[in-house]
Each structure stands twice: as C-alpha cells, then as structure tokens.
Amino acid sequence: MTLLSLRNIDAYYGRAQILHGVSLDVAAGESVAILGRNGVGKTTIVNACLGVATVRQGRVAFNGRDIGRIRHFTAARAGIAVVPQGRRIVPGLTVKDNLLLGGAVNRKGPWTLPTVFELFPVLRERAEVAGTALSGGQQQMLAIGRALMANPDLLVLDEPSEGLAPVIVDGLAETLQALARTGTAILLIEQNFGLVHRVAERYYVLSKGSIVEAGWLAGLSMETLKKHVAV
C-alpha cells in the first residue's frame, strides 16, 4: 500500500520554483532514500509534505488523502514525523520536554517516553538536561526520539548524518535499521551513501529540482553516484 505519493509536483518558496514535476512513492513499511547534492531541492520535498513550501502543481497524498494544501501541524497528525536538517532541538527545553513535545499529536502506538528511553538510554540519563546541551550524536538521538513519540507511519529524516562522526553514523544506521524492522516506513534524505546503503531499499536521485533516476539500491551504479551525489 502506498503511504506517501507525490505526483508531478512543482514546489515554490515565494516566487522561486524549486521542484519541477517531482513524482515519488513510499510504501508502508519500506525505506526509501533521496540522494542528491546540496541545493538540489531535497529538503523542499520534505517542506512540500509539511506545507512549508507551496505546491502549485501536482498532488501530494498521504494514506490516500490529499495533503498538498495542509499546514505544517497537520502533517504530524496525519502520521508524518520529521527529523529536520540541523535537528532543530528546541532551546530552553529539557531532553524530556523535547520528547514530550514530540508526543503532542497523541497518536497511539508503541512509542512512549519509556520505550524511547529504552531505545536511547543516554536520553534517560540526561532527561533533565537542556536538549541543546547534548553532543551532536545525542541531539540526533533526541530528534529521532522526538519524532518517534508521534508514533508515525512515516519517519522522514533530512540529512541525519550531517556533522556526525563516522562512529556515530554507524550507530545511527543500526538504529534506523532496527526502526525499519518494526515496520515504520522511512524516507531518508541523505548525501552519505554509506548510511543510505545500510538503511534504504529504493532510491531516487534529485538534480536541479527534478528526479533524474530511481530504482532499487542494489542496482545503483557508481556512475550515477559520481555524477549526481559525490562531491
């Protein structure tokens, strides 16, 4: 069953068109990656799903429902949780408060404060510390934990490996693999091919706001990587 479906969308910030006729699908329980260099419009795909970027053409549907004109708070209610680029840990809130904020939608599911603490024990140890005082890797755990608190059908991660040491990225990959095994669909927007390779089953390559290639990850050629992803 298709969970997220983008059909020929044109997305804009103000008058600037960023996405040109983008189509992609994410089925329930699958892990899909969007690859591409900086500035090609990867984050705009997330923002189009959240209603932050304006979709003027095409259709964005989630669980069969048109969400192209929604506000950013309704995406979470529909079942889309986002781990945003740069993590966006809310300043002034403790780790626990940041997690509770993620549970604002009150969707039923396996993820609660205790189960998130079980997944990331370090967050329990530092529950009363300001979220912004955590290390980069711990902040990433917090951002993922916050997204899980919404018990989403689709977890969208925007450049989660950005700024993290390779050993932390390894841990992140294991976490995402474990989440994928629980049946949570994952849309991974990433430049780190090592992470993509360990998590995703299918991929889309974005270039200059358009999808230029798509397929199973096993079939992704070095040539494509060099042309559209490697810096």
Binding site: V52, R71, H72, F73, R77, P84, P91, G92, V105
Partner: protein, 282 residues
C-alpha cells in the same frame, strides 16, 4: 523606607501583570504590541463601568472576560492575517489601534478623570513598622505574586505550557510536532489581553482613569520586556520588580529624573547583556 519598598512592589506587580502579557504575545506572535497600553486602559474602564453597577469583583471578572475576548479577536483579525508581513507593518497597525482605542474611550467615557473605590473588604490599612499601609496595595502585590506563580506553574507543568514555551522560541518546529500554533497563539494573545484587563482593573483604585492612562505604563512595560530579555517570563518578573523599586525610589528622592531611571537601567543592561537579563523561554 519599608513603605517605599512596598510601594515599589505594588508598581512592580502591576508592571509585571501588564508586561507578561506583552511577553506572551511577543513570544508567540513576534508582535511588538503598542495597543497593549490601550488594552490596559480599556480594562480599567470596563472595570469602572461594571463596578458602578455590580461591585468591584464583578467589574474585575467582566474586565478580564471582555479583554480576553478582545485579545482573541485581535489575534484572529489583526495578528494572524498579518503574520507573514514585515514586523514593522504589524507594529504600525498596533500603534494605529492604540490611537483608535484611546479615541473610542474618550467618546464612550469622556475626558474627565474617573476614580474607582477599592472593595470594602480591602479598603482598610495595616500597621507595619510604626506606620500604616493600605490593605488594597498589599492585595495588589498578592495578585501579582499569584499571577506570576500561576503562570510559572502553568508554563512549567502543563502540556499547553510546554507548547507555549516551545512555540515562543521555535514555532516552526513546534508546529512540526503537530501543535496547532495558530490556535495556541490565539489563546495566548487572549490570555495576554486578559492580563492587561486584570492589570487595568486592579490599578483603577490606585490611579485616575483617563483615555491616555495606558501610555506611560506601556513605556515602562516595554522597558521591562526588553530589560528582562525579549520573550523571557522570568526576566520580565525580575525586571518588573527592579524597575518598580527604581521608579518608586526615583519619585521620592529624585522626582525630576524619575521617569528616566528605567530607561537608563535598560540601556545599561543592554550594554552589559544585549539579549536582556534572561534568555527567551526561561
């Protein structure tokens, strides 16, 4: 000296109740609300009108209710439609509202100064350190402490309080978690306006009511908000108490310079800490 300190606490308390509404509105809507002084003034007049027919407590409740409703309307019909505009546009609109509300008050209640008597239960004096002090003034200090404590508990321990704290520093991320930030902002602007009504009504027995009464306290309230740190509730409380004391001591000891003292304090604090005493969200 004790009396001067208590009077400073009274003014600081009034300032806090008014300024915390500005903090709430700025935090959620990023609006510098010049109309807030007029809301204080309208609150005082509504309190005066209802007090005349149904007593002080009915006036107090009516004022808070009417101003809360005005705040909700202000958010729905002014702040929300203008939220994507340049902040200067919204600021100018609130300045225009200030003038409109002042004229409306002048038309409805006239130019003459009006007075409100404190309720009978609070009309006596207490004897402190060999001198007397009005019970009503002590009650104003108590009301400010109740508002500060209540707001603090609400913000710290309730779900909605958590969303308000989060949205006041990062509304986009808060919205991404499923919080309807528009409804939250409407509620917070309504509460902020209701607090302006409360502040106006409890100040009514202490000052003479006039359509321009919101002007001077609005300036001191802005000084409180900026000195405390834009968007900081704790900072607003500290700054209100300090400015209340300085204002009052200034009136007693250097009356010619009294109105300048809060502004000088604000400049000194901003030189020392450009973000104000306490960071937003605290």
């Amino acid at each position: 000296m004790l009396i001067q300190i208590l009077n400073g606490l009274v003014y600081g308390g009034l300032l806090y109740v008014l300024a915390v509404g500005l903090v709430l509105i700025f935090g959620l809507r990023r609006v510098v609300n010049f109309a807030h002084g007029s809301l204080f003034m309208i609150g005082a007049y509504v309190g005066y009108t209802v007090t005349a027919v149904a007593g002080f407590w009915a006036g107090l409740i009516a004022s808070v209710c009417v101003l809360t409703a005005i705040g909700a309307a202000l958010d729905r019909f002014v702040f929300r439609p203008l939220q994507d505009e340049d902040p200067i546009v919204t600021m100018l609109v609130t300045f225009g509202l200030l003038l409109v509300l002042e004229d409306a008050a002048r038309t409805i209640w006239g130019k003459e100064f009006l007075t409100v008597q404190p309720p009978a239960i609070l009309s006596g004096v207490v004897h402190l350190a060999g001198t007397s002090f009005p019970v009503y003034r002590l009650a104003v200090i108590g009301a400010a402490i109740l508002v500060a404590g209540g707001l603090s508990l609400w913000l710290r321990f309730s779900r909605v309080g958590l969303y308000v704290r989060a949205s006041s520093v990062d509304p986009l991320t808060t919205g991404m978690q499923g919080v309807d930030t528009d409804r939250l902002s409407a509620m917070v602007v309504a509460i902020g306006a209701g607090l302006a009504g409360l502040s106006g009504t409890i100040s009514a027995p202490l000052v003479a009511l006039s359509p321009s009464m919101g002007g001077s306290i609005l300036i001191d309230s802005f000084v409180v908000v900026v000195t405390g740190g834009l968007g900081s509730f704790t900072g607003a409380f500290i700054a209100a108490m300090v400015i209340g004391q300085l204002h009052n001591l200034g009136v007693v000891f250097v009356p010619a310079a009294a109105s300048m003292i809060p502004l000088v304090l604000m400049v000194l604090v901003l030189i020392w800490r450009p973000g104000g005493l306490v960071k937003a969200g605290a």
